[in-house]
Subunit: 509 residues, 2 copies
């Protein structure tokens, strides 16, 4: 075969993607990086213990204070302050599971959260949505639905977060619409907001019924999860404490995430902010274990810095990166699966946005995070999720997924035969070794365009952001939802209709 | 002091940058990552030995073949093939220095290249330049001059590469103009092209005279460097062989860089491409040591993949990342300082460009590269260097520089006092701990804009790419060249005038 023909054949056959790499169950292949020496991690942990024991945490929910008191904490009911002994923390860490089974809508979507495993979520909780067609606007149910479709369509996005707020749905009904969307349009792990017990119980019931589980089966494993943000510094508010208790008692996973911006709601140093974050996380984890020993709870942090000129939060900074590393060291010390987060403060999906999100991502990866939140699409420090940025960021996540799969190094890969076959100044396009592998050897990009400048110009000089528009539009237009039992779909809709008629469930605070 | 006043004072004082972090002598803080097990690295090294011993390297320069023969290689003069025994390679590796002192124009610009140290170069060797004001065009001397000014202005760019070709200067005179630019506008380590002995000798003389060195002083340390690309597969061409010999004999550093694109001029597998790259690198390194034992030579690779649909090269891919890791393992095996490279195939400074360049960068960082080339500005797989992309990429390099500096973890940093001072739901803006540190605690960005969407919109919705235009324009407009002895400047100009009158020096091939 001539070189030219070999090359042509390779091009032709490569026209349809052949490569199949499993992005569903990732192991983190990156060596963990330490920011502090072990003795300074111990000193930091000790400082967190001092915060819990001497300074205390303000816990607004009486039921939570009652649990803390029953568990041995000193509680001042007047000030609502709870002082938690290190023995209580140690006891909680001894019962909190080191691995958490997450049961999704299909078995191949199940996840195991533990140290060493790796899962990704796109950006979560944004009040606004943006795309290049419709512009920036308050998030709507349609935006949430479309973003769930995109999330469902890429294996490398492992869990469904509350991507954007469906602001067109009133608060007392929004949880129905969001949970219905998650259940009908995705078979990945769904999220529930902790906005008070009534909404949480609605969510549990919808998921349990839709999955066809008995109460016992539901409680045996996590079928949904919530995110718990402490109110830093040192406050656990009403709905957060309720969420911790309700999820723990139902055997569902809480992801504990102090949001500690250095210089604002946390000390200006990485070490100080992490001392606070660690103390708050351990207080929340302790509460889950007091509510139900063995309840699934994920350690977590979201620690970055602010611009001291303006007070504006920043993400994907060196300080954010270092804080992630420290969090990883602390998570390994307590032995729990943990969440970390990327993100960007950019206002548009440009080079800054890409660089900040990826820089933050590498901090999380080298910190050994079990699940990385806001890893795609998050702009404006979380005020907006961009459709296009979900696409350009998940390209990076897929490339990380490729690295998780490893690189083969058999004798056949070392390719001495090919090196013998191709003469000096020759090329390998038509080599036997190449022909046997060209269809699926390389990662094929979602949105990257590798064409040369002339071709790219002829095609209209479209940048990655605008190419991403085409990508998400095709995904949304061609979306096929997972198959569901029609009776369960009907039952879900009936439940929502009934609860809506009954007045829904307002958020609590 | 009230919280409000504390915050205001912090804002005011932070308005002028105070933070001083030394980006000049970086140590790589990232734990090295292995792609292959040690035994597979040995198998790969053995395969490279087989390539050198049995398949051979085609060496076009008779003088180089003579050196190889004198060193014990089997040489076939008809085919110009050189077969290099492993004993010769081992001998070369035993004399090649493990640490290379690079003498720049000022002592604080000196570098030591060795395993564990880290240096960056912006993109090199592009035929085109681009910026948002003047568009994409063939590179000119003015472009080269302006890019050298930018390179000089940021400590995190450690060496001056041939950023763009000065295509408006004829080839027989271009090296005068480029070397004059490097010497007059920068005091960082200058680069010389290896385009034949006459040009190289001109370059040596210009640098030696301008630095005021005797021949002996010049040869004692590297005062300049060259990049040697083998012609993969398995060819060392005339000017490259000449460069290896000339630089070695003069005690100046060669950076050996097989450019092995998987599926094109190298096998389609990472392992196969690296077997070829390693063999070629070792052949070139061997030649330097045959020319002068102990000559400074930097191991290197530039291995990425092509798009098998189009044959177009790709950069910042998972395969590129993995190849960098393997190169790092091989470099550690041979113990030499080594160069690695980032890059992007994007045609414009967009999210793809940022993501590819940063992804490739992390491959180099986790591979433990001593010097990372094309780490800022490189577009179109090296056909263009973008002024704006130099700026947006060097933001990432500076953030890496911050990580190299480490994160303090003293008791004062852990900040128990601040945690005591600020009550639950309070904030740390006005805390004593914050006030003592706010002026220089955080990295201050070059081009990132952390303002909120409203402010950013009021300021014209300028993306990072367009903000970068303002940054490089200010750098170029306000540039102050290093101080030079006027007599040496005159001598340099006289030398160039004389050599120009004599007809210059055409490149050899």
């Amino acid at each position: 075969m001539s070189r030219r023909r070999g090359r042509d054949r390779a091009r032709e056959a490569a026209a349809s993607p052949q490569r199949k790499v499993d992005y569903r169950n990732l192991k983190n292949p990156f060596p963990p990086m330490n920011a502090f020496t072990e003795d300074r991690i111990e000193a930091l942990h000790e400082a967190s213990m001092t915060v819990l024991e001497e300074l205390g945490i303000k816990v607004l929910l009486p039921e939570a204070r009652r649990l803390f008191r029953a568990g041995g904490a000193r509680v001042d009911e007047t000030s609502e302050m709870v002082f938690i002994g290190r023995d209580m923390v140690e006891a909680a860490l001894s019962t909190a599971p080191k691995a958490i089974q997450l049961r999704a809508g299909a078995r191949h979507r199940d996840l195991e959260l533990k140290l060493g495993n790796l899962a990704f979520q796109p950006g979560a909780g944004a009040p606004h949505a943006t795309d290049l067609v419709r512009g920036r606007r308050p998030g709507s149910l349609r935006d949430f639905q479309e973003m769930v479709k995109i999330t469902q369509s890429y294996d490398v996005l492992h869990m469904v977060p509350p991507l954007v707020e469906a602001q067109d749905i009133p608060m007392h009904l929004r949880h129905y619409a969001m949970t219905e969307t998650e259940l009908l349009l995705s078979d990945k792990m769904p999220f529930l907001y902790s906005r008070g017990t009534p909404q949480v119980m609605d969510g549990f019931e919808m998921i349990r019924e839709f999955r066809g589980l008995s109460e016992e089966e539901f409680q045996a494993e996590s079928h949904c999860y919530t995110i718990i943000n402490t109110n830093s510094p040192r406050v656990i508010d009403m709905p957060m404490a309720q969420g911790l208790i309700d999820f723990a008692r139902a055997g569902q996973m809480s992801v504990v995430t102090p949001f500690t911006l250095m210089g604002a709601m946390a000390p200006i140093t990485v070490a100080g902010a992490m001392a606070l974050s660690h103390a708050e996380a351990l207080s929340a984890i302790t509460l889950t274990q007091l509510a139900k020993p063995g309840a699934p709870v994920c350690y977590g942090t979201f620690t970055s810095n602010v611009d001291m000129k303006s007070g504006a939060p920043a993400f994907g900074t060196p300080e954010h990166f270092s804080a992630s590393l420290v969090a990883g060291q602390l998570a390994r010390r307590v032995g729990l699966p943990w969440r970390c987060a990327g993100g960007s403060a950019a206002n548009v999906n440009d080079a800054q946005a890409a660089n900040e999100t990826q820089f933050g991502l590498w901090g999380c990866l080298m910190a050994g995070a079990s699940v990385i939140i806001h890893s795609a699409g998050w702009l404006e420090g979380g005020l907006t999720v961009s459709y296009e940025k979900i696409i350009t960021d998940l390209e990076v996540l897929q490339m990380v997924g490729e690295l998780c799969a490893g690189t083969p190094a058999t004798d056949a890969d070392i390719a001495l035969d090919a090196l013998r076959e191709v003469q000096p100044s020759g090329h390998f396009f038509g080599a036997t070794h190449t022909m046997e592998r060209f269809q699926d050897q390389f990662y094929e990009p979602v949105v990257a365009d590798w064409s040369n400048f002339g071709t790219w110009t002829e095609r209209g000089s479209v940048d990655a952001n605008h190419r991403a528009t085409g990508v998400w539009q095709r995904v949304v237009d061609n979306f096929q939802p997972p198959q569901h039992d029609p009776d369960r779909v009907d039952a879900l809709k009936s439940f929502i209709a009934r609860r809506t008629e009954q007045g829904g469930a307002a958020p609590e605070s």
